[in-house]
Amino acid sequence: MSEEAVTRGTGRGTRSIPPIELTDAEAGAAVFAGSDSRSYNYFTPKGRRATKYEDVTVDVQPDPEVYLTQGWILGWANGDIGYDPSWTSVKVSDWHRFRDPNEEWERTLYINNSNSVRQFQHSIENAKSENVFQDWNKSWVDILARHVSTWAHADQGLGMYVFMPAQRAAMSNMHNNAIAVNCMHKLRTAQDILLYNLELSEIFPDEFDGSVHQEVWMNDPSWQGVRENVERIINAKDWAETTFAANIVFESLVGELFRSQFAMRFAPAHGDYLTASLIGVSEREFKDRDLAYTKDMLRDMLEDEVYGEENRQLMQGWLSEWLPYSLAAARGLEPIWSETEVQPVSFEVSFGRVKSRFEELLSELGLSVPEEVTI
């Protein structure tokens, strides 16, 4: 092959193609100042070396407190800037410290959510192929229509109108990306539940009312506390407060109560192992991932050397504000425990379990149930 062919490329004939050249522009081809500087050097990794998650996430959202020398260049008439510290009452010495313990970036979030989708769909397909539904207690089918399906609204409300706004507002890209992934867990789960509802409508065309969940969500007394709680979080504006109210208070006392203590335990007692498995997907996502990042995020605020105590008092105030709504929501669900034909566990036992876990969670964070609230 001639030297021309190597350096200028060759084609078949007259077509115009770019002249690809061998440039020897690979790492190590020459040694000069900076030629070995092959890691992002503008942040301090949490561990010894930066993870890929850190490399693709840290400081993509700039900050006038760090390098943004010209400041935010667009804002609002009231003086708020692009990411305004006043959007939360929390104060932190360094907003760039927090790392998502789940290390979520685009690749992991698609793999994890696709796995959840596959688990959900394969479980349903397997159940259908074996027709396990014929052995279900028929009274349970109505519970699935009236109550299990209704939970989808809570997930939809939190995902679309709590976590989506929260991921706009937090003070670092690390916070906002973790919250954005949380948002998608909720929205996907809401849709998972309704698509399961669609399947059940086809499997039980006479017994299962596929759309009654809308009426239940809006008017059934058992659910009005849950809806009120969700709507009030939606209307709050402090991104850290809404994440706290949703993931620490509501999810712990109401979400886990309904998913883990009711749906996952009552379904098998009625011959339905499928629902327990399906609801378990979102329960696992909450406990393993969403609660994990929330706890780390709050710990970073609570353990701040300068503002930690101030933040603790602030969060105690949030507990006083939000606990009554979530307690009312949880207690409001109590009648559902009596609606089923089989009661494997009483409401008081169920509630006692989530209450105990909730108190452990507060203790882990250095918080406590406010004196004026009885749970």
Partner: protein, 545 residues
């Protein structure tokens, strides 16, 4: 999932929405538009269950290609001229991407249509995808390209470089001010529908021609998500158009968005495509030709014009003025010249143009050599450190420009420059449309109607102000644009990788840096008028140094 069942599933998930009754919704993000609940649908029928697995498959392809590039050592064939511009481009673009994710709740609060909200949720997480996938691409460049300096400081450099700030408004525009202005018109209707074509289709084509097939792999995968986003924007635009009260605001926002993005995106991408390539085939499209195809024909004629029947008043003059700047006034040629003038405060290298480049430019842009050729010859002659100063501080005849207060690109087409006393200071603008943007659009009223939701320009808008009176070497240290030996500069006016040919702070010490805007405000009225008159006359490049 079969198409029929997707339709059924999509209909089903509409049951998830409800109207709150326990609280009266008080949106955090406001709009001056009036939108009533509409019947706009999401023809893409997006549902999570098919979305995640589809995206996962797209990712598999992207990461497979990255493995292939690393194993096949793609960097033996990439053009340094091209890769160096990626230090700037890829420092900027992940921020607009993530800003688009952050922008979505502005619309969920402003647009009373739950079906559109569902589409916005997919867009939100798509944008997280784009931002992090692009950061990862840049990481691969840093690890595998011959000169990682500039990639290694990427987000810091994006934050403190004048060029980063110009690009940053593209993202900040998505997330601030009036919710519909920012997220619908500026982001979806203009940025995503018009300019992603040049960003994500033209750039990959040029990358491939320069031996880089990773950028096409990543950016065409990104672009495959954009059609869903354009669709989201179209539905909201139709809702806005259905109310006559909105028409003046749409008109305002289209002028602002089309002009600002022309000023910002054409400046950057025009430079990357025409000055960052080594592919000088005469039949290869120039940026102007790409603009005509992707923007003028595909966007303006095929997308915008048909909307006139719905009452959309299109600012035809803004589009024609954009073309006038690109074709007749050498907009991106002047931007490239400015970037190269400013090389000591960049964080990437700029390769001199050669005779082969001159020939191509003259072929594509007749008259190019007469206006720019001599200056590039001076640039080439001054590219290696040899006892002279950087070109900006040698007497080439070039006059360092004032900066536009609105778009923050300098006022490079000198005769179009406008000077005005605004908000207690003298400001300069690159064009009458940029002057209008600051003095008319971003204000508390528009055509007599209150516009309390409209955004405001903030920040230290002239970068040079930060360093007025500083020594150039101190600026470079302050920016962090000095390599790890403590003196060799990150930026170089060439792509030679020999240490004795690299500039250091020893070569830049003792040069004072000045801010044109500070000086302008220090002048007497008479001096200022005279100065501006001379500025508008332009300059002549000296035949020799």
């Amino acid at each position: 999932m079969a198409r029929r069942s997707v339709t059924k599933a999509h209909n089903k998930i509409q049951e998830l929405s409800w109207e709150p009754t326990f609280v009266e919704k008080d949106p955090k993000y406001k709009t001056d538009y009036t939108l009533t609940k509409g019947s706009q649908k999401d023809p893409m029928k997006q549902i999570m269950q098919s979305y995640f697995t589809m995206q996962e498959e797209k990712d598999h392809r992207v990461y497979g290609a990255i493995d292939g590039a690393v194993r096949g050592n793609m960097w033996r064939q990439v053009q340094p001229r091209w890769m160096e511009w990626q230090k700037l481009f890829l420092s900027i673009i992940p921020f607009p991407e993530i800003s688009a994710a952050r922008a979505m709740p502005l619309l969920t609060e402003a647009v009373p249509n739950a079906e559109i909200h569902n589409g916005l949720a997919f867009q939100m997480i798509d944008e997280v995808r784009h931002s992090t996938i692009q950061m990862n691409l840049k990481r691969e460049y840093m690890k595998n390209y011959i000169d990682p300096a500039g990639f290694d400081i990427t987000e810091k450099a994006f934050s403190n470089c004048y060029a980063g700030t110009i690009g940053r408004q593209f993202g900040e525009g998505f997330i601030t001010g009036d919710a519909i202005t920012a997220c619908n018109i500026y982001l979806q209707v203009v940025a995503e529908t018009a300019f992603t074509n040049t960003l994500f289709v033209a750039m990959p084509s040029e990358a491939a021609a320069n031996g880089d097939y990773l950028l096409p792999t990543v950016f065409l995968s990104v672009q495959s998500d954009e059609s869903r986003h354009m669709n989201n924007g179209y539905g909201t635009l139709l809702m806005a158009l259905s109310n006559d009260e909105n028409k003046e605001l749409i008109e305002r926002d289209l002028i602002y968005s089309l002009w600002n993005q022309h000023a910002v995106v054409d400046a950057a991408i025009g430079t990357f495509i025409d000055y960052g390539t080594k592919d000088r085939r005469k039949d290869r499209e120039s940026y102007a030709e790409m603009w005509k195809r992707w923007y003028y024909d595909d966007y303006y004629r095929s997308y915008l014009l048909p909307l006139e029947k719905y009452g959309l008043k299109i600012p035809h003059d803004v589009i024609e003025d954009s073309w006038e700047r690109i074709w007749n006034k050498g907009y991106h040629h002047k931007v490239a010249q400015f970037f190269a003038t400013g090389w000591p405060v960049n964080f990437w290298r700029i390769d001199p143009m050669t005779n082969e480049d001159f020939e191509w430019f003259e072929h594509k842009y007749p008259g190019w050599y007469n206006e720019y050729g001599k200056w590039w010859e001076h640039y080439s002659g001054l590219s290696e450190p040899n006892g002279h100063k950087p070109i900006a501080f040698e007497d080439t005849g070039y006059v360092y420009p004032h900066r536009c207060w609105s778009c923050m690109v300098p006022c490079l087409i000198r005769e179009d420059t406008i000077m005005d006393y605004v908000d207690g200071q003298w400001r300069t603008y690159c064009h009458k449309h940029c002057h209008w943007t600051d003095t008319v659009a971003f204000r508390e009223t528009y055509k007599g109607r209150p516009t309390p939701a409209m955004g405001r320009m903030t920040g230290k808008r002239e970068w040079e102000t930060l360093y007025h009176g500083w020594d150039l070497a101190d600026i470079q240290h302050d920016l962090g644009y000095v390599r790890n030996d403590g003196k060799t500069l990150v930026p170089q006016p060439h792509v030679i990788f020999e240490k004795e040919k690299m500039w250091t702070t020893d070569n830049t010490r003792g040069i004072e840096f000045q801010s044109p805007n500070v000086l302008l405000n220090q002048m007497s009225d008479e001096e200022r008028e005279k100065h501006m008159e001379e500025y508008r006359q332009g300059f002549t490049i000296n035949a020799s140094l």
